[in-house]
């Protein structure tokens, strides 16, 4: 066999490999982009400041953003079905202040924590039922959830309530891992991400979530339970809201009814930056975790530079814009192929 033959064959092999790869993993591209940006940010900051990638900073990244990560997991479920949940910030505030006030009135934590989770899930259920059975736009239904959550938070208390309970104090203790440390809140957040990813990729429910995001009509015709799936994603998001309320209360040592104003938008931003399409059908829980790290890193860089924190939102906004455009390009390219 001549050399040209071999080369030709090798190049077709490479071509098939590439087409197999793009055929399979196009939807991973935005997530790869997010990872690239995260690495670029970390490396860039390290080169610029010289003392950025310290164990302390890296550990703080998880500790400071644990609640955001939990919210992002829930939001990923919702956005993959092509929905949206604006209520998560106020659900977090409500369950946080509810938990703090229950603990302050002497109810044991073992009861308070389930109550917080159930309260979050209940608001999620309400939104899900509105969306599915009353045919309300997710934007509107979850906006109602946002006002409801915030209102309920103010009903519970207008002021911050300190929490001295040993369990919650323990949740923010820093467990050293060499030079690094991790707090139970961070472990919970990581666990939530892992469970979320497992549910999304290895359960029928999770696959149905993607199917609904692809086409509700087709999913129904395939005999899958669309109604239950759509309600469930909001319940999951609400549950994550409740869990985030717990983490935030433990982290700050207090419940405060004005917590998390605007957090829903941060959450949507990190989910989109992590590679989830707002139009549904594509996205990864692990990508959302990367999105949270990107967000957290930008925040840390801003405070390192001593600049105003509002710059975080400006930069996140620009990133979001870039990502939405990139996603658009990917989607329209894959549609052209048809």
């Amino acid at each position: 066999m001549s050399t040209t033959d071999t080369t030709a064959r090798q190049s077709t092999d490479v071509a098939t490999t590439i087409s197999t790869f793009t055929g399979r993993y196009v939807s991973l591209l935005p997530t790869f982009a997010a990872i690239t940006i995260l690495i670029a940010l970390l490396v860039g900051a390290e080169l610029y400041f010289g003392n950025f990638l310290t164990p302390r900073n890296v550990s703080a990244l998880l500790l400071d953003n644990a609640y955001l990560m939990v919210l992002a997991v829930g939001m990923t479920f919702v956005i993959v079905t092509a929905g949206i949940d604006l209520s998560v910030g106020s659900v977090m505030a409500f369950t946080g202040i509810l938990g703090a006030s229950l603990i302050a009135s002497g109810i044991p934590v073992i009861i308070v924590i389930p109550v917080m989770l159930v309260a979050g899930a209940a608001i999620g259920l309400l939104i899900g039922v509105l969306v599915q059975y009353f045919n309300v736009q997710p934007f509107i239904a979850s906006l109602a959830g946002l006002f409801l959550g915030r209102g309920l938070a103010y009903v519970v208390s207008l002021n911050s309530i300190r929490v001295e309970d040993p369990v919650l104090v323990w949740m923010r203790t820093r467990i050293p891992l060499g030079d690094f440390y991790i707090a139970p809140t961070g472990i919970i957040a990581i666990f939530t991400v892992i469970i979320g990813a497992l549910v999304m990729h290895f359960t029928r429910f999770g696959r149905t979530v993607y199917a609904v995001g692809g086409s509700e009509q087709s999913t129904r015709l395939m005999g899958l339970n669309v109604a239950r799936t759509k309600v469930m994603v909001y319940v999951i998001s609400g549950l994550c809201g409740g869990l985030a309320g717990l983490l935030l209360t433990a982290y700050t040592g207090a419940g405060y009814p004005r917590n998390g104003i605007g957090t829903e938008l941060d959450v949507i931003a990190v989910v989109v930056i992590g590679g989830t399409l707002l139009t549904g059908g594509r996205g990864y829980v692990l990508g959302s975790m990367i999105g949270v790290f990107v967000f957290g890193t930008i925040k840390t860089i801003i405070s390192f530079m001593g600049a105003e924190q509002s710059w975080t939102h400006i930069i996140v906004g620009v990133l979001l814009l870039v990502f939405v455009v990139v996603q658009r390009a990917i989607v329209s390219r894959s549609q052209q192929k048809e």
Partner: protein, 516 residues
């Protein structure tokens, strides 16, 4: 003509029907969609259901696949009376359906599209590897080579159709219902599908093949049941039924054979074209295409799927901007940058996919027709309601849109009538050149003839028309001249009179000679 009895069915006369419908009646309010229809299918046969739109074909399919309950009458499977509350129940009984519009999920993998809802599991979790493996087996049994792990949306419509069939047969299938499976496939792909159908037939599966393409029905089907206005006209062996008789039974009237239009213009290239394109290149799709279209003629575009039919139409009408080439309209060089600008020069385009690119299904007939006209005038100069009404009613009349109710939502119309609404919208703009991309796809024979005749009338009234169709006979019937497209080039332009279907097929299918 006497009905054929089971004994006429040759070798399987001893076989009992697998599906039997007796006196099936379905009503929607006052409207009777099926009126005491008898229907049966035998194992190992390909059966066709023929009829115009509204004849009750889809209702009958829904009745045997569990999508609609019967008001009266019985459904027997293997001789036992059954009722299917849901399509899933029918599927469990071995009746699978592949719908006209591929109802799959473009965002998910091929394997998932086949197994979704029935994924193999290990320890309660979806076993992706086993799922891919089983998907590969099903696809292999169809002898198609598609990577089960690839995302479905990246594949051609034909491949997606095969995946839909793979899903349908991944259960133990006894009856396979294919509703218009070939409407978006080209010749090779149809052949591939037929190979798969014959394979199932061998295995004793009963196949219900519903198609508007008579050629295909005659090629693949053993028997045909004809419906008209919700009632059964009869059941025939395809070998014993002449095509002209079949059409006559479907239409219920003598076919006014497609009146051969008097051809006005016959020169190879018109001397004074309305539009003249040279060297149009637009990647991907067309390269160096030359086209001339004169007022008062119909130029048929014939070519296989992927030959550049649609791309050429889009490049001529400002939808896509060609990279290269010169476009002259009435002898003046123009660049078309947008459909809006093309419209200002009198060039309009009716897209291939009327449902997603053309009509707004949730709006009424009136709103759909007035839409483009209003857009052309600008928002500030609203057409008065009374004038709109008058206009719309005149178009409904002229094109015979049924039901003739301007407030009817377009979603509820049949394919043929939707197409007429689309045409009315474009004609309301008083165009000079009308580019029709597959205007008769997926509509019934009667409506097809009407649209074809309409196109002829329009040309007789001085309009220049480009008519694209996958059906070569239709291109010949309607076109004055036929441009043959191969691999993105206009290979030849010939007067339609000098061609017949066989010659045209040979031209279309001819491999391009390698370039020197």
């Amino acid at each position: 003509m006497p009905l054929s009895s089971p004994c006429q069915y040759g070798p399987v006369d001893a076989v009992k029907p697998i599906v039997e419908l007796e006196g099936a009646t379905v009503r929607f309010g006052a409207f009777t969609a099926l009126d005491g229809v008898d229907f049966r299918m035998f194992p190992g046969e390909v059966h066709s259901l023929m009829g115009e739109n509204g004849a009750g074909k889809s209702t009958l399919i829904k009745a045997i696949t569990g999508a609609l309950p019967l008001e009266s009458g019985t459904l027997l499977i293997d001789g036992d009376p059954v009722t299917f509350p849901t399509p899933q129940a029918a599927q469990r009984a071995g009746i699978s359906t592949v719908n006209q519009d591929v109802d799959l999920l473009a965002n998910m993998s091929v394997a998932e599209n086949i197994w979704l809802g029935r994924e193999p599991r290990r320890f309660g979790l979806v076993d992706n590897r086993a799922m891919r493996h089983q998907a590969r087996e099903v696809l292999n049994s169809l002898a198609v080579d598609i990577d089960p792990a690839s995302i479905l949306g990246g594949h051609s419509l034909a491949a997606q159709q095969l995946v839909a069939i793979a899903r349908a047969i991944s259960v133990d299938v006894k009856v396979l219902v294919l509703d218009e499976p070939t409407s978006s496939l080209d010749t090779d792909e149809v052949a591939e599908l037929f190979r798969v159908i014959r394979d199932f037939k061998e295995r004793g599966v009963a196949i219900l093949f519903v198609s508007h393409f008579l050629d295909q029905v005659y090629e693949i089907c053993d028997r045909v049941t004809v419906l008209r206005d919700g009632a059964r006209v009869g059941e025939y062996l395809t070998t014993e039924l002449l095509r002209i008789d079949l059409v006559q039974k479907m239409l219920g009237r003598d076919v006014a054979e497609f009146a051969a239009r008097e051809r006005v213009i016959e020169p190879d290239m018109p001397a004074d074209p309305f539009l003249s394109a040279r060297g149009i290149t637009s990647t991907p799709g067309i390269a160096d295409a030359d086209v001339d279209i004169a007022a008062g003629e119909v130029l048929g575009l014939a070519g296989l799927l992927g030959s550049g039919r649609t791309e050429l139409a889009r490049a001529l009408t400002g939808v896509d901007r060609p990279e290269d080439g010169i476009l002259r309209i009435e002898n003046r060089e123009k660049r078309l940058n947008s459909p809006r600008q093309a419209l200002s020069l009198g060039v309009v385009y009716s897209p291939e996919n009327r449902r997603t690119e053309g009509l707004v299904p949730e709006l009424s007939i009136q709103e759909n027709i007035v839409l483009a006209l209003q857009a052309q005038r600008g928002v500030m100069r609203r057409i008065p309601t009374a004038r709109q009404r008058e206009l719309v009613i005149s178009w409904i009349d002229a094109l015979g849109i049924r039901p003739a109710d301007p407030d009817r939502k377009v979603r509820t119309l049949s394919g043929g009538n939707q197409q007429k609404v689309m045409l009315a919208r474009l004609l309301a703009l008083s165009p000079r050149l009308l580019v029709l991309d597959e205007p008769t796809r997926g509509i019934d024979v009667g409506a097809k003839v009407e649209i074809q005749n309409l196109v002829g009338d329009l040309a007789d009234n001085g309009l220049a028309v480009v008519f694209i169709s996958a059906e070569l006979e239709e291109v010949l019937r309607v076109g004055d001249r036929v441009a043959v497209l191969r691999n993105g080039r206009v290979a030849e332009t010939l007067p339609a009179d000098s061609l017949n279907a066989d010659i045209l097929l040979a031209l279309v299918a001819q491999p391009d000679l390698p370039e020197a």
